[in-house]
Subunit: 162 residues, 2 copies
DNA sequence: AATGAAATTTAAACCAT
DNA sequence: ATGGTTTAAATTTCATT
């Protein structure tokens, strides 16, 4: 994997977080690190999975009008397998195991209410171990720091600031 | 703003979601759209806020071990300004206005529990309009937005420990 | 708005340290 | 792992439709 990051790595990440297409030469000039080293390091960061440079689309602007967070309560001992199952679904963009009143929190990205309804009433019931759900519809997204996976070709996708 | 996206826009987005540094010439060859048009469109998508090309670092690999979701209840009419304020903070990676028991849901990325504690007890109280908070610590992240291993229907993301 | 072709800049490959 | 050099490739600008 990746040992630890040094200061240069952190600066490179910080710069690319703001603009993923900044040229290596630009970055070189800003940091004083030779362009070839910038290139070498960024490549390594990508190879180790530490950094990914991706296009992040705002779902609300590309036809996915219904974002929702769903809190799940699960049967004892089944939360992890629920996470595994839900992670496989294209509709989910975020699946985490949590402490607190909910065992699992999921974000789903749907085209419309009908799509969401189908997910809630047709898909979720097929997942073993879920005992209760509570939905928080997203009315406005102020800060979305991640992207959603690409759907099949031609299907719109992901998120940014809204 | 942006009118609606056509099929070409969607293809460009889908390609850049997988690799934000794909050259416009490459994309041109894959899609049959002239390189200058690819550039023209991508620029428009960025200018309108539909697409952002950014470096996304895995928080768990760069020293941010504590992810948490926080549900907020706000004073009537103040939820939006709470969102605005929280979006400005570096600790937040996700800020949305929601329906349901919480008015706002926030994700924070912290270095450790002390960092989280400071956010909860020092930062949040300075934001006007918040009346109640409820924290869900993320124990394990199964699928984080930008999905490592983006693909069509959800390549299961390696459960990242939180 | 969208394209094509030019000049300019950048990235990739290579090699040495 | 870094830094320099060269060659091939991509980006940008600008003119055209």
């Amino acid at each position: 994997m990746m040992p630890d990051l040094d200061d240069i790595d952190r600066r490179l990440i910080a710069i690319l977080q703001q603009d993923g297409r900044r040229s290596f030469k630009d970055i070189s000039e800003e940091t004083g690190v030779p362009a070839s080293s910038v290139r070498y390091r960024v490549q390594r960061l990508e190879e180790t999975g530490t950094l990914q440079i991706v296009g992040v689309a705002d779902p609300l602007r590309i036809g996915f009008d219904r974002l929702a967070l769903i809190g799940l309560k699960c049967e004892i001992g089944k939360a992890r397998q629920v996470c595994e199952e839900l992670s496989k679904r294209a509709e989910t963009s975020y699946v985490v195991l949590t402490t607190g009143p909910f065992d699992v929190m999921v974000e789903v990205v749907c085209r419309d209410v009908a799509h969401y309804t189908e997910f809630l009433h047709e898909v979720l019931p097929t997942v073993d171990g879920i005992v209760h759900t509570e939905t928080f519809f997203v009315l406005e997204a102020y800060k979305l720091a991640y992207g959603w996976g690409v759907g099949d070709s031609g299907t719109p996708t992901p998120p940014a600031e809204a």
